[in-house]
Structure formats: C-alpha cells, structure tokens
C-alpha cells in the first residue's frame, strides 16, 4: 500500500497480503466455523473456506498475478472451482465481481476499492437473493462495505477505513445471533436457528479482520 500520492493507493502486494491473512485466519478458525455450521447447518463451513483459501493461496503462488484485478479474479474463480456448497459460489462471485470492477492497473485507489467492495456485495445479493437480516454472510458484508465507503468518503487513512470495515463486519456477524434465518440451510430450522451466529457471517468477519491486518 502506498500513500505517497494525494489519493491513497492500494497495490498488488497488499492484496496478496490480504489473501495470505485470510487463508491463515480461516485455517486457524476452521473448527470454530465448522462448529457454528454444525449448530444450524451441515458442519462443513470451516472445511469449505479452509479448502478454498488454501487453494487460492496455492493458485497465487503458482503464478502471482500482477494487478489487484487479476489477484481478485483469480481468487474468485479459484473459490468457485474448489469450494462448492453455498459459500463457494457466493464468495467466489464476491471476489470476482470485486476484481472485475477494478482497472487492470498495479495500484488502485481507496475509492475504487470501496466501489469494488460494493460490487462484491451486489454480486452476492444478486446470486443468493439474501437481504440484510436474513442471517447470512450479507449481514457482515453489507455493514462492512458501508463502513468502508463512509470512511473513504470521510477521507480516512486506508488503515483506518479498513479497521472500520473490520469492526462493522464483526459487529454484523455478532448481530446475526438473535436472528431467525431466512436463507440457506439454517432457514430449515425455523425458530431453532435463533441464538446461533451465522457461520458465513463469521467467516466474512474474518475476511475483513484480515483486511485490517494486511493494512498493518
């Protein structure tokens, strides 16, 4: 990440670091994610995202792309190709849409990143049809995307904007606990889904925590 220009820029190494942090985080938290999924789903979310981000890490190592766009598109298509389940296409689409919104340059502005995150959210919602409050990853993703956009608009430093996004995601994930699920497997449980954190929201919070970490 460089802040030498007037407008803060985010470069390819930053995105690679972010993905590295993500892969580490979901590996470390794999069992907790699976336990969350066991309670209201089918006990595979930890394994799914771990398998996915490990594959992304591998794909990036095999042929490191040169632009943020390429990093994100490769990450997204790797997730689609390796994860399966609901989270595979959803996360895959999120990263692909994010990437496809960016110019194919070695650095992008923070404002462009905010727009890209918005595209990620739109992609997830278009594909999965979930609104906020349905107890899905959208409940962490949407507030995080909003917080980032607001911080960028307010002229925050990159690390502060990303910290704000991470906090919003964590808060959004926590806030899924009292909700009754209306999308995904947890919706099969009806009222019994209340009282548990949504696993996808929890992994989304990890993704934004990784973003903050990558920002230093």
């Amino acid at each position: 990440m460089t802040t030498a220009h007037e407008e803060p820029l985010v470069d390819t190494p930053f995105f690679l670091a972010w993905i590295e942090e993500m892969a580490t985080a979901v590996q470390v938290e794999r069992d907790r994610l699976t336990e969350l999924d066991a309670a209201i789903g089918d006990a595979d979310h930890g394994a799914n995202v771990d398998r996915g981000f490990t594959a992304v890490r591998q794909a990036l190592a095999d042929g490191p792309p040169e632009t943020p766009r390429a990093v994100l598109v490769l990450a997204g298509s790797t997730l689609i190709r390796k994860v399966g389940g609901a989270s595979g296409p959803l996360y895959g689409t999120a990263f692909r849409q994010m990437g496809r919104t960016l110019r194919d340059a070695p650095e992008v502005t923070l404002a462009e990143l905010a727009v890209a995150f918005d595209a990620a959210l739109a992609g997830v919602q278009k594909l999965g049809g979930a609104a906020e409050g349905d107890k899905t990853m959208v409940d962490a993703l949407a507030p995080a995307v909003r917080a980032l956009a607001r911080a960028v608009q307010d002229g925050s430093k990159p690390e502060d904007a990303m910290a704000a996004a991470a906090e919003a995601a964590a808060e959004g994930a926590r806030a899924t606990v009292p909700l009754q699920a209306r999308k995904g497997r947890a919706s099969y449980l009806g009222p019994r889904s209340i009282g548990h954190e949504d696993p996808g929201a929890a992994s989304t919070a990890l993704i934004f925590a990784a973003l903050r970490k990558a920002a230093g």
């Binding site: 190709r81 994860v83 389940g85 609901a86 595979g88 497997r185």
Partner: protein, 330 residues
Amino acid sequence: MKKLINGVDTVVIDALRGMAAAHPSLRVDLDNKVIFRRDAPRRGKVGLVSGGGSGHEPLHGGFVGYGMLDAACPGEVFTSPVPDQVIEASKGVDGGAGVLHIVKNYTGDVLNFEMAAELCADESIEVASVLVNDDVAVRDSLYTAGRRGTGATLFVEKIAGALAETGAPLADVARIGREVNERSRSFGVALTPCTVPAAGKPTFELGDTEIELGIGIHGEPGRTRTSHRDAREIVRLAMDAIYDDLPLSGETLVLVNGMGGTPLMELYILFAEVSAYLHEKGATAVRSLVGNYVTSLDMQGFSVTVCRLTDELTRLWDAPVETPGLRWGR
C-alpha cells in the same frame, strides 16, 4: 470419531477409487471427480447428470448406469459439487440430445449447478434442470430457502432415466422429472446425529429418549425435537405431515429409507406401519423400496417418501435399470 477411512481429506477420492474397482460398468474420472456410465455419451440419448454432497451413498454415484443417471458429481461430504465437475460431467454425457441436470433444492447445489449450466450454454450444450424439493418438513415460503430435496431424488432419477433410455427429447425428460417431483413428498426422522469426517464429532446432541422430527439429509437438526416413541406412532407423525401436504389415495410408490445407521429390520418394521397407514387412507403402496438409499453418513433414522403414481410413472418405474444401487430387468 472412529471411521473406516484413510484420512478426513481423502474420503471422497478414496471412495471413488473403491467404486472404480468394484464396478466395471462405471468409468470413474478421478481427476474431475465424476462417475460416468462406461458407455457414455450415448448418441441421441438425453444425458442425465446429478450430484450433490457426498455422504448420501448410494445417492448419486450408485445410481449411474443403464436406465438411470449417465453421470454423477460427488462433492465433498455434505458440500455441493463445484461447477467444474458438473461441466465435465455434462460434456461427457452429451450425446447431442442435451443434458438434464437433476438438482436437489439446496442453495449450494442450486448455485453450483446454475453456474455450470451457464458455462455449458457457452459451449453449446443444451441443458435443462429439474429441481427436487419434496421435503414437507420445510415450508416453501419467503422465510426459508424452500423445501429440501431428499428421497424423491431417487424417484426422479429412476423415472427420468427410464424415459431418457427410450430416446425421448430433453423437454419430455425434464417434464417427467418435474412431474415426479410434484407428485412426491418426504419426511425424515433422526434417532442420532451423524459425524462429518472433517468435523470429527456429531453434528448435534440428542438425549437417550429424544428424536428429531423433520430432518434433512445433512445431519442438521430437525424442525422439532420430541420424545422417542413406538415405530407406529413415529410413522404416523411422518405420514400425517405428508398427508397434510398431499392427500394420498390410489396407487403409490413408497420409499422407506434408512439414514445409514438403521438396521434393515427396523426399516421393514416401519414399512409395515407405512403400508397400514396408506391402507387406512385408501391408498396402496403398489411399488416400494425399503433400504438405505439416500443416507446421511452414519445417522440412525429414516425418511419416508411417497409418490402418487400414474400409469406412465409406474411403467417407467418398472423399466429395466442397471446401476450399483438399483437393479432390475437386466
């Protein structure tokens, strides 16, 4: 967790190796994780592709063969397959008459099959889909992901497979698949949870005198927990749930399905009760299957699926089938 495996990460591929070794009538593509009929693709025949998470065996790989599926895509345990698998499978079975995707209604399955279907279209493979959603335990409303696909999947695969074998066009094969789904309903009950290998422990806990009503096939808890009771009463709960949704009369096809850990003896005890229930309602099980067909790893429990038959459906059900898991007439 005690399982007969070589490691939690290799269960799917190791099982595929076993299937390849056991069934010369199949061609198992270990790289792409697709189970093919050895003679696929068949010129002019609609190719049937199904798939879903592993852990439901014999569904789907055990239903690949003459008169049923042309290919199956097993995902990781309880995880829908990835689009690549479905694309490989679709390419491999397309004999020029198009490909039918049989998809159980789970968010993951739907999304991955949809993505695959789009990419197939790019490669000029004509794809139609049948969505199976037979489980009455889930209300199909704005507040759920819709009914789950469970036992009726087997009926759809068998009957659509039989029609495809006659050389019928894709639209007809899709139509009959949807008809089977619309005429079928299921309900499941668990006595114990199951253990996903990668999770290493049971997906939920259940007391010594408790059962879960309205379970799916992924080890998830059911809609409600209640006290254990006689087979007769449990069957009544399940059948009432089905009947409330689809009044039963006339000739039916019934599957009394074990979840993987239930002895066959108990499934026959259940079937006797199902049969008596149907009789009471003026319906008959003129065709039936009793056994472990759509399972949930080592879960103890069962599901019951009823399909209201028509003459056409009965005829197609009776048509020859030759797969590892279902075979008659050949």
